[in-house]
C-alpha cells in the first residue's frame, strides 16, 4: 500500500502543481495586502477638513467630537481653503452651516454638508468613507445627549436625531449631489463586479479551448494535415483566432445575461438613475467598450494560441491553461477592488500590460470620461494583437509546431 501512496503522491505533486499552488498563495497574499490597506483606513482616524460657519453651541460640540475622532486637516471658515487641504490627503470636507445650532434649538434637524472626495469606484475605494459616517453618528449622539440632559424642549424625534447629512460626491471631474459613496458604489456594482467576472470567465473558457485545441491538433496529428493544405499559414492563425473569438463572444453574452440576473437578485434595486448623475454612456462609448472587448479577446486568444504551441498533447495543454487563468484573475481582482487611478504605479503598469484588463476597466473609465485610458488601451491591444499574430505566423511557418521547442534525438519520429 505504501508503494501505491508513494506513486500517487509522485503523480499528483508535479512541479506544475506545486507552482500552481505557490502562485495561488502569492495571489491571495497580494489581494490580502490590497484589501488590508483600506481595512486599516477604517480603524484609523479619517483625514477631513471642517468649515464652521456657525457660531452657536452645538457646532462647538460637533467640532470637539471631530477633533477627538478625526485628523483635522483644516478648521476655519474658508470653504476653498478647506477643500484645497482635503484634496492634498483628505477624504471629505464637512461644512457646518451658519444655522446649525439655531435650527436645532428651533426644533428642526440641522444638516452637516459632507463633500466627499472619492478617488475611485472600486469596492475598496469607498471604504474610508465609513469612518466619516461614524463620526457624524458620534456628533449626533453627543448633541442628542446635550439636548436631553439640558432639558431643551424640542420635538423628541429631533432630540434623538438632531443632525442630518447633506452629501455630495466629488469623483474625478464629476460632481454628484445627493449620493453617498456607498450608494454610488452600489450603483456601479455592475461595472465593478459583473464585467470583470464575466470577462475573466470568458477569457478562461475561450483561452483554454484554444490551448486545448492546439494540444489536440498535435496529439491527433491533424495539425500536420492542416499545415500541408494549400492555405497560407497566416490564414490558419487568423482563422483559428477568429473562430475562437466568435465562440468567446457568444460565451460572454450568455455569461453576462446569467450573471446579471444573479447580481440583480442579490442587490436591492436603486432608485438613483445613472443618467441623472451624468454617468450614462453614449453610443460612442458603447462602441469603444465593444471594441475593447473584441480586441482584448483577440489579443488574449492570440496569447493563448502562442502558449498552445508549447503543448505537446491534450494532457500537457491542460497544464498550460494555468498561466492564462492567473492572467485573467489578477486584473479581475484589481479592477474589482480598486480604480486604475488609485492603484500604485507598479500595479497600474501590470494592469495595463495584461490584455484582459482593458475591457474590465473600460465602462467605468468611460463613465468618468477617462478616454485616455480606454483609447490608449485599445491602441495597446491592437499593437499587442498584431505583434502576437506575427509571432504566431512565424511559428506556424517554422518547424517548431511539429518538432517542439527542444530538438528530437536521432531515432525519434520527427
Amino acid at each position: 500500500m505504501l508503494n501505491i501512496i508513494k506513486k500517487e503522491i509522485r503523480e499528483l505533486l508535479t512541479p506544475a502543481s506545486i507552482a500552481s499552488m505557490v502562485v495561488v498563495a502569492v495571489i491571495f497574499a497580494l489581494v490580502g495586502q490590497m484589501v488590508g490597506s483600506p481595512m486599516n483606513e477604517i480603524t484609523e482616524k479619517p483625514s477631513i477638513g471642517v468649515v464652521n460657519q456657525d457660531e452657536g453651541l452645538f457646532s462647538q460640540t460637533a467640532i470637539a467630537v471631530i477633533n477627538e475622532n478625526a485628523e483635522v486637516l483644516y478648521l476655519g471658515e474658508d470653504r476653498d481653503a478647506g477643500w484645497e487641504k482635503v484634496q492634498e490627503k483628505g477624504i471629505a470636507l464637512l461644512v457646518i452651516p451658519e444655522d446649525f445650532s439655531s435650527s436645532i434649538l428651533e426644533g428642526r434637524p440641522a444638516r452637516i454638508e459632507v463633500n466627499w472626495l472619492l478617488k475611485g469606484t472600486g469596492l475598496m475605494d469607498n471604504i474610508s468613507s465609513v469612518a466619516v459616517t461614524g463620526l457624524i453618528q458620534m456628533i449626533n449622539t453627543s448633541i442628542s445627549e446635550e439636548l436631553i440632559s439640558g432639558g431643551i424642549e424640542i420635538p423628541p424625534e429631533v432630540a434623538l436625531s438632531p443632525v442630518g447629512l447633506s452629501e455630495t460626491v466629488f469623483l474625478k471631474d464629476k460632481v454628484i449631489p445627493g449620493v453617498s459613496p456607498e450608494a454610488l458604489s452600489g450603483l456601479l456594482i455592475s461595472q465593478s463586479v459583473t464585467i470583470p467576472i464575466v470577462i475573466m470567465m470568458m477569457v478562461i473558457m475561450a483561452g483554454s479551448t484554444v490551448i486545448s485545441s492546439m494540444g489536440l491538433e498535435k496529439e491527433s496529428k491533424t495539425l500536420e494535415t492542416l499545415l500541408s493544405l494549400p492555405i497560407r499559414r497566416r490564414d490558419i492563425v487568423i482563422g483559428k483566432l477568429a473562430g475562437s473569438a466568435a465562440v468567446g463572444l457568444i460565451m460572454a453574452v450568455i455569461y453576462m445575461l446569467g450573471f446579471n440576473y444573479y447580481m440583480e437578485s442579490l442587490t436591492v434595486s436603486s432608485s438613483i438613475d445613472l443618467g441623472a448623475l451624468g454617468l450614462s454612456l453614449g453610443m460612442g462609448d458603447y462602441l469603444l467598450v465593444g471594441l475593447s472587448i473584441l480586441l482584448s479577446l483577440f489579443a488574449g486568444l492570440a496569447l493563448c494560441l502562442l502558449i498552445g504551441t508549447f503543448a505537446r498533447d491534450y494532457k500537457n495543454a491542460q497544464t498550460l491553461i494555468f498561466p492564462v487563468t492567473i492572467l485573467a484573475m489578477v486584473p479581475m481582482f484589481l479592477v474589482m477592488f480598486k480604480d486604475f487611478g488609485t492603484l500604485s504605479l507598479l500595479l497600474q503598469v501590470i494592469l495595463f500590460i495584461i490584455p484582459f484588463s482593458h475591457p474590465m476597466m473600460a465602462m467605468r473609465a468611460l463613465m468618468f470620461d477617462n478616454y485616455v485610458l480606454v483609447i490608449g488601451g485599445i491602441a495597446y491591444l491592437a499593437v499587442f494583437s498584431i505583434a502576437i499574430t506575427l509571432v504566431l505566423t512565424k511559428i506556424f511557418s517554422s518547424d517548431r509546431l511539429l518538432v517542439g521547442w527542444s530538438w528530437p534525438k536521432r531515432g525519434a519520429k520527427a
Binding site: T222, E224, T225, S228, P230, R232, A414
Partner: protein, 238 residues
C-alpha cells in the same frame, strides 16, 4: 519533367543530423518507396517534401516548383498523409471530407472531389457517423480518401495501409496503383515489404539519414540474390 527532385538534402535538429545529404528523384507516373528502420530519417524526408519542415541545405523541387522558394505553390499540388493521421473527432466523416474539399475547389469541382472521397473511403452509411465512433481502420480509410480525393500531382504517403485489414489494405493499394496512371506520382514510406514490393516501381533504402541502396524491387532482389525485399532490407540495413 520529374515529379520530384531531391538533391543533397540535409536536415539538422540542433546537433542531431536527421537527414545527411540524400538525393533521389521520382518520374511522373512512378511510385517511389522510401524504406528503412525506425528513426532512419524517412518521416523527416517526407515532411521536408511536404514543406512541413525547413530544409537545412539542399533542394527539393516538385514538378519544377522549388519547395524553399515557393512552399505554398508546392502545397497546391501535393497531398501528405502522415503516419497515424487523425481527423477532427467531432465532425462526421462526410463533413471532414467536405472541410478538406473546400480548400481545393468550390461548386461542381468540390462536389467531384467529395464524390471521389466518398468512393475511396468506402465507408457507406458510416460516413455520416461522427469520427469519434470510427475504428482505427475506418479512420485510416477516411484519411487515405482525404489524401487521394484531391488528385494531387504528388501524393506523399507515410504508411498508407497501417491499421487496415487485409481486404481494405488491398483496396487502398489498388487505388494507389490506379492513381499514378494519369501522370501523377507517389512517394511512400512503409514497413510492409510485401506492400513496397507490390506497389513501388523503385525503392531507396535509408539508414541513419543516408540512402544506402536504391533500385527496382526486382533489381535489388537480383543484386543481393534474395527471394524478397525483406531479406534484402535485412542484409543492407541490418
Amino acid at each position: 519533367m520529374n515529379a520530384l527532385e531531391v538533391k543533397n538534402l540535409v536536415k539538422d535538429y540542433g546537433n542531431t543530423k536527421a537527414v545527411k545529404g540524400i538525393s533521389f528523384d521520382i518520374a511522373e507516373g512512378e511510385i517511389f518507396g522510401l524504406i528503412g528502420p525506425n528513426g532512419a530519417g524517412k518521416t523527416t524526408t517526407l515532411r521536408l517534401v511536404a514543406t512541413l519542415l525547413e530544409i537545412t541545405s539542399g533542394s527539393i523541387k516538385v514538378f519544377g516548383i522549388d519547395a524553399v522558394k515557393d512552399p505554398a505553390g508546392v502545397r497546391k499540388i501535393i497531398s501528405y498523409l502522415p503516419e497515424e493521421a487523425g481527423a477532427y473527432k467531432n465532425l462526421k466523416g462526410r463533413q471532414y471530407l467536405e472541410f478538406i474539399a473546400n480548400f481545393f475547389g468550390d461548386g461542381k469541382e468540390k462536389e467531384e472531389i467529395l464524390r471521389r472521397g466518398v468512393q475511396i473511403a468506402g465507408l457507406g452509411q458510416r460516413l455520416d457517423d461522427k469520427i469519434e465512433r470510427y475504428s482505427k481502420g475506418m479512420l485510416r480509410r477516411l484519411v487515405v480518401a482525404r489524401a487521394l480525393m484531391v488528385e494531387p500531382r504528388l501524393a506523399i504517403l507515410d504508411e498508407p495501409t497501417a491499421g487496415l485489414d487485409v481486404l481494405h489494405a488491398q483496396e487502398i493499394r489498388r487505388i494507389i496503383k490506379d492513381f499514378v496512371r494519369s501522370g501523377r506520382a507517389v512517394l511512400l514510406s512503409s514497413h510492409n515489404m510485401l506492400e513496397v514490393e507490390f506497389l513501388c516501381d523503385r525503392v531507396a533504402l535509408i539508414s541513419e539519414g543516408m540512402i544506402v541502396e536504391r533500385g527496382t524491387p526486382q533489381g535489388l532482389k537480383e543484386r543481393y540474390k534474395r527471394p524478397n525485399l525483406e531479406e534484402v532490407f535485412v542484409e543492407v540495413v541490418g
